[in-house]
Amino acid sequence: MKRQYDMLVVGGGPGGAFAAKTAAAKGLSVCLVEKRPAIGTPVRCAEGIGKELLTDFLPPDPKWICTDIESAELVAPDGFSMLLEPSKAGNEIGYVLDRKIFDRELVWKAAEAGAETYVKARATAPIMRDGAVAGAVIEQHGKKYEIDADIVIAADGIESKFARWAGIDTTVPYKELETCAQYLMTGLDIDSRRTTFFLGNEVAPAGYLWVFPKGDGTANVGIGIGGGKSGDGHRAKDYLDRFVAQKFPNGKTIELIIGGVSVCKPLASSVADNMMIVGDAARISDPITGGGIYNAMYTGRLAGQTAIAAIEAGDTSREALMPYDTTWRASKMGKAIERNYAIKEVFTKLNDEKLNSIIHSISKINLEHFSTLTLLKELMKANPSLLLELRHLRSLL
């Protein structure tokens, strides 16, 4: 480990890996530190991603794609289910990934581009000079290293501390944290090309329960519930256990995965002098789906590009890095987060009766494109009363 780099990346998930790869490929000296002993593990994810989103970044590779999803099933609180089959119209849905392999591949690509990578290496404090971030203290194998960097990328995920240490409040309001539990199960009698989503206040209050197949009768069976609904005896794992006992009594659990997903607004500012915050650390996950892989890769790559321009210009001040913040907010992703946040606010307050009537009413629609947006547009058409509640969102749709 050298004492000085152009860029120091804290965290080896998809956001950190893309920031590192992008900057290193253009010749910046880059150091990426990951506090865990292995990239990609433990998994903190349901592993689903839209096809079009993924191919923006890298060609699909069977090494880390478990399944190719063709249809999605939405199950209402009363058990009524509707099937979305945009693949029949030739449109794509998504993949279920193997994050252990996927994340490793991304960091490997960063290393191949010239970034130095260190595991079991943790940032324990920022180095501050004149009130600005100037690097970080890295601890690895019992030794401390003071690493200077022109730019630090905070890519430290949901449990992010780096930006907070540097003076930015990153606290997620607890009601806007989805608290999640998931089993990787095997021996299930399921369609390996169909994802299933269960909705309802009995099944998953202020959240949803998912079955994402991974092939050969295995699947991620998981749940996220709103933080405000969680407590003793009714935690994410309690809801999941109840569902599994009823639905998959003969399934075998081979992995327990848990985690938190923020569904709040992104940080008010994702830049500071000499620092950019990406992905989950900046709370840039989708407020409806909880998805964050694409968002992390997108903001990571953008932060890398911004760093290249800033370092070339010799100015890494907050002002010089601001294009990173304004660009992602104005992007399709940024707009989707803004819209989905407003929609989430309405949807998480619906009672089961209302949810039932909505799902029944749209069940006969043949959706040609599968996206949250097209689904919502159809929902609105079929439910004038919902349209009324969401009327202030019309401009966003």
């Binding site: 949901i158 449990e159 501390k161 606290t171 969680s230 407590g231 003793d232 794992k237 848990i258 985690g259």
Partner: protein, 61 residues
């Protein structure tokens, strides 16, 4: 002196870091597979509430 404290039940904790994100004081930190709490904890019970496994408990001393 604090009359309450946060107890981390390590046999239950799955070191996911969800609690770290909601802590209003920044008192929690996840060091690889080891969750720590420092003396800035105000025993507000938010982490206790949202833990997906129930590994955190505010106890009276």
């Amino acid at each position: 002196m604090n009359l309450t404290m946060l107890n981390i039940r390590r046999d239950i904790c799955g070191y996911c870091g969800a609690c770290v994100s909601v802590c209003p004081e920044g008192a929690l930190e996840l060091i690889d597979a080891y969750l720590t709490v420092d003396d800035t904890c105000i025993t507000c019970s938010i982490c206790e509430k949202i833990c997906p496994l129930g590994a955190l408990e505010v106890i009276k001393e």
